[in-house]
């Protein structure tokens, strides 16, 4: 086992680690008392900024920099929204934090609210986490009772209310403006930007949306210091001025065809192979990996030969993936059909597309129906070209949609077809020996889908 000692996950396995008493015994909440007593909000912003902490929710944007986008001297209110709508397939790091160490998250929320001058924070929790919901609510109640939340926290002039909001199970609520719309009681259709949430967000007030793990990192930076945080991870690439580096510990969710799936804490920059071999005990049943999802299904696919890619914010992008995402590593062994994988991926995104922008609404559904037809033995080679075109043109990056869900839907398609085209072609030729080469339209299929 590697030598790195878990910090974010230190409560895992500790009896009653989720309680306030346990958290305080481990040194928790002391930084809050110190910060409220001695520091200005700007000091906290500066601390987080200099730590190089990048958002853990998927996009990897600098947390401190995001906070500085809030308008100066705003009369308020300013809101902090904590994104716990952890819906990316393969991702469960937030759940571990919320279930096993909720006070770490709450401490991060207090510090972040102090830094952003927010006096109200909303914790948007996905519906499917009942245990997180209970643990968080219990922890919030404990924190109120102990005076860490509420009016004039520990005698300071700073007050904070935290509301735990339970969503209604939709992937799109994890998009920050979708989350804001949902909190406002509306359909979670992501907003057009500008204005960005930092200027006009929740209830049309300046709003910061941060991930649960980001909150935990803020708590740890306050407790252990910037130097500690910067000593972990990958420094900025001096040859790339746009790379701010990937610092700090990261929770990697390892799942799929491995011997020991689970949530592992490791320094940013660990390679996928290290993660699978050292933490996960290797691919299960003595098989080889065919492909690995680097950070949630929407980030695309790495092939076996790309497994030495470091899983930091810059790494997966170098092998054609969308990014690190949520660092949810899913291993697909060599006995698994990539056609099945892509079908499952398309089914997920067709189901979760909010339906606002035409290219995503129709593109996700069309790609699913094509995959269903391929799986029903009616595929043609030209379907692959159409799928590739959908993958290349759908999303925020080509500009055809409002939010990044479409990019996330597009990336598995284009990665799978680009990196595994041979397998797709073999499958289509094998299952549709008489029609794979046809280019004319075929009659509509009445019953489709193998599930």
């Amino acid at each position: 086992m590697p030598s790195f000692k878990p910090v974010l996950l230190e409560a895992v396995g500790v009896p009653d680690g989720h309680t306030l008493a346990s958290y305080v015994a481990r040194g928790g909440y002391a930084p809050v008392a110190k910060t409220l007593g001695e520091k200005q909000p700007a000091d906290v912003v500066e601390m987080v900024k200099s730590s190089g902490l990048r958002g853990r929710g998927g996009a990897g944007f600098s947390t401190g920099l995001k906070w500085t986008f809030l308008p100066k001297d705003h009369p308020g209110p300013i809101y902090l929204c904590v994104n716990a709508d952890e819906s990316e397939p393969g991702t469960f790091n937030n759940r571990i934090l919320m279930e096993d160490d909720p006070h770490q998250v709450i401490e991060g929320i207090i510090l972040s609210s102090y830094a952003t001058r927010a006096s109200t924070a909303y914790l948007y929790l996905r519906y499917e986490y009942p245990k997180s919901w209970q643990r968080l609510q219990a922890a919030i109640d404990e924190a109120y009772a102990a005076g860490w939340l509420g009016k004039n926290i520990k005698g300071s002039s700073f007050s904070l209310d935290v509301y735990l909001h339970r969503g209604a199970a939709a992937y799109i609520c994890g998009e920050e403006t979708g989350l804001i719309e949902s909190l406002e009681g509306k359909r979670a259709w992501p907003r057009i930007k500008p204005p960005f949430p930092a200027i006009e967000g929740l209830f049309r007030k300046p709003t910061v949306v941060n991930n649960v793990e980001t909150m935990a990192c803020v708590a740890q930076i306050a407790r252990r210091g910037v130097e500690w945080f910067k000593s972990i991870g990958v420094p900025a690439d001096p040859n790339n001025p746009r790379d701010p580096g990937s610092y700090g510990p990261k929770l990697y969710c390892l799942s799929g065809h491995v011997e020991r799936p689970g949530c592992y804490e490791a320094p940013l920059g660990i390679t996928a192979r290290q993660l699978i071999e050292e933490h996960g005990g290797g691919v299960w049943k003595g098989r080889r990996a065919k492909a690995v999802i680097p950070g949630g299904i929407s980030m695309g696919l790495m092939t076996e030969s790309e497994l030495d890619t470091p899983l930091d914010f810059a790494g997966p992008g170098k092998v054609g993936c969308l990014g690190l995402g949520t660092a949810a590593v899913v291993v697909i062994d060599d006995q698994t059909s990539i056609v099945d994988f892509l079908h499952n991926s398309c089914r997920f995104f067709a189901h979760e597309s909010c339906g606002q922008c035409t290219p995503c609404r129709e593109g996700t559904s069309w790609s699913l129906r094509m995959l269903e037809r391929i799986k029903a033995g009616k595929g043609r080679l030209k379907d692959l070209d159409i799928l590739q075109e959908i993958g290349n043109t759908m999303g925020m990056m080509p500009g055809s949609t409002i939010c990044g869900l479409a990019d996330g839907a597009a990336w598995p398609i284009k990665n799978a077809i680009k990196k595994f085209r041979g397998e797709f072609e073999d499958y289509i030729k094998r299952t549709n020996p008489s029609g794979w080469m046809v280019t004319e339209p075929v009659p509509a299929l009445q019953i489709v889908g193998a599930h």
Partner: protein
């Protein structure tokens, strides 16, 4: 002045104008296709049809920096130095893809769709679509359901632009419509038990860029390419919405709002929209009839049909013989018709008593969240008629123009021997008791669309014209004068009021509303603003008076 570069062409825009790239490009002659954007609604930028390439030109160096991806034109403000590219390969391919995507689930039932011929999905497909349908894997469905008493939703034709949803939230404020389900299974719907029922509901049909929302009143009545449209003004209330009367062979099929930023913006109310059916009511008066012997009409008494060419002369004779004349000038008449009526009346009896006819009032003004107002005053031209009567000196001691009640008092007091009541109201407006006031007159002339207790006792029963059958000027409650042309001919050779009065004044040729209007403008400072050409959106009469 800020300069925008549209496809390489420099276009100047106003310094305070807040234009988006669609509007700016339109100034430069480039039409950017769009579904979800509408100038009267909030921007959602969701249909992605208006994607363009854009960039900015540095004012100092002239260097153009392009944004490295497509952006929606509706959401992108046009500022000084904004570069808009609407016809690049990237843009064309993107449009073709959006068009293709929208047609994946579309039933393509144009032959039985009311929207065919004025459908953006059709138009854009021909202009921007691709010839081949690649999405060949889905059996179509074609479902419809009722949204309310006025609108039917053809579910599978919808492109999810959400204009209708935004309209009910932002303009009517009633929020009946919503989006249900998610992704490609999305549909427009209403909540069970809360149908689309508001007085602006018909506007969602106008807003719908495709054939999804159908107007039950118009459904399957006429193919749109047979319709001719005339700029017109709604006569339903004192708001005076700018409309288009769409008709074929003298039959109106529907009314549509016409954009007018000063009056109705893009909207009109259902009362006005469906308030044209009385024009084709078979019970309309269509003949000029005179009671036998020129005596007051009796139950079962004989009367004669008078040729229109004789009506003017014989009417003049009868009224001239009767003595003191009282005239009710209907607020349904155009200003020109009212002016000529007053002139005719004064030529018969120089002391003729002139009053504004009955002004129908129904409830109170209703203003909607989007600013649209339905007036309680259910006639289009009270202010115009009052102005005309004032020009003829028909004001009382207090300087007020007498109204209908003053006329009733005048007649009841025995100060008139004859009365000429113009009405032209679309429905019943007078009861037996009120009509009784005119029983003792020796000559009563009633000019109306339908039989009424008053017309039953009249010596002269003349047909009137409906709103789409007139030409002239109406002055709405905000003093805005709007000029319009006759859209259809009245039934059975009926002479509209304008034509009858024109001939009674001995003027040659056909009724020329514009000539009368210029004459009115010259005769009174109230109407001075009408002297020149009046724009399609009308002109505020008070502006010229202040100047």
């Amino acid at each position: 002045m800020p300069t925008v570069i549209v496809d390489g062409k420099e276009i100047e825009i106003g310094a305070d104008e807040r234009l988006n790239c669609i509007e700016a490009a339109r100034r430069g002659g480039a039409e950017i296709p769009h579904y979800c954007w509408h100038p009267g609604l909030t921007v959602v930028a969701s249909c992605r049809m208006c994607l363009i390439e854009t960039g900015s030109r540095d004012a100092a160096t002239g260097k153009v920096t392009m944004v490295p991806k497509l952006v929606p034109a509706c959401q992108t403000p046009a500022k000084d130095g904004t570069v808009i590219v609407t016809e690049s390969q990237l843009v064309k391919e993107s449009r073709a893809r959006v068009e293709e995507a929208l047609l994946i689930d579309h039933p393509i039932d144009c032959p039985i769709c009311d929207k065919a011929g004025e459908c953006l999905l059709q138009d854009y497909h021909f202009e921007h679509g691709q010839p081949e349908r690649r999405a060949d894997l889905h059996p179509f469905t074609s479902r419809k359901r009722e949204m309310g008493s006025t609108v039917t939703l053809f579910v599978d034709r919808c492109v999810m632009c959400t204009r209708c949803v935004r309209f009910t939230r932002e303009i009517s404020g009633s929020a009946e419509l919503m989006v249900i389900n998610r992704g490609a299974k999305e549909e427009i719907d209403v909540f069970p038990g809360f149908p689309l029922e508001n007085k602006l509901s018909g506007n969602v049909v106008d807003l719908c860029p495709v054939g999804a929302l159908g107007d039950k009143d118009f459904l399957y009545q006429q193919r749109v390419w047979f319709l001719k449209a005339e700029d017109n003004v709604c006569g339903g209330c004192a708001t005076g919405c700018s409309i288009r009367t769409e008709h074929n062979q003298d039959t109106v099929y529907r009314l549509k709002p016409r954009e007018n930023p000063h009056v109705n913006k893009w909207w009109m109310c259902d009362d006005g929209r469906y308030g044209w059916h009385h024009l084709h009511d078979p019970s309309r008066l269509v003949e000029a009839r005179r009671a036998a012997g020129g005596r007051a009409r009796r139950e079962g008494g004989a009367d004669d049909t008078i040729e229109w060419s004789d009506v003017g002369r014989r009417l003049r004779d009868d009224l001239g013989a009767a003595g003191r004349l009282a005239v009710a000038v209907s607020p349904m008449l155009t200003t020109e018709e009212a002016w000529m009526l007053c002139a005719v009346a004064r030529s018969i009896d120089p002391q003729a008593f002139l009053a504004v006819g009955h002004v129908p009032i129904d409830g109170a003004d209703e203003t909607y969240p989007g600013g649209f107002t339905i007036r309680a005053e259910k006639c289009p031209n009270r202010l115009g008629v009052e102005g005309v009567i004032a020009v003829f000196g028909g004001v009382d001691a207090a300087g007020r123009v007498p109204g209908w009640n003053a006329l009733l008092d005048h007649v009841r007091a025995g100060e008139a021997d004859a009365a000429w009541i113009t009405a032209a109201y679309p429905g019943g407006w007078i009861d037996e008791e009120t009509a009784e006031a005119f029983a003792s007159l020796s000559c009563l002339v009633v000019q109306d669309l339908f039989e009424s207790p008053l017309s039953r006792m009249a010596v002269w029963k003349l047909p009137a014209a409906g709103f789409a059958e007139r030409a002239g000027t109406w002055v709405n409650a905000a003093h805005r004068a709007q000029v319009f042309q006759q859209a259809i001919r009245p039934p059975a050779g009926v002479w509209p009021e304008g034509r009858l009065y024109w001939s009674m004044l001995g003027r040659r040729g056909l009724y020329d509303a514009e000539a009368v209007r210029r004459q009115i403008a010259d005769s009174s400072p109230t109407f001075a603003a009408l002297a020149g050409d009046v724009p399609a959106t009308g002109i505020d009469l008070r502006i010229q008076q202040l100047a």
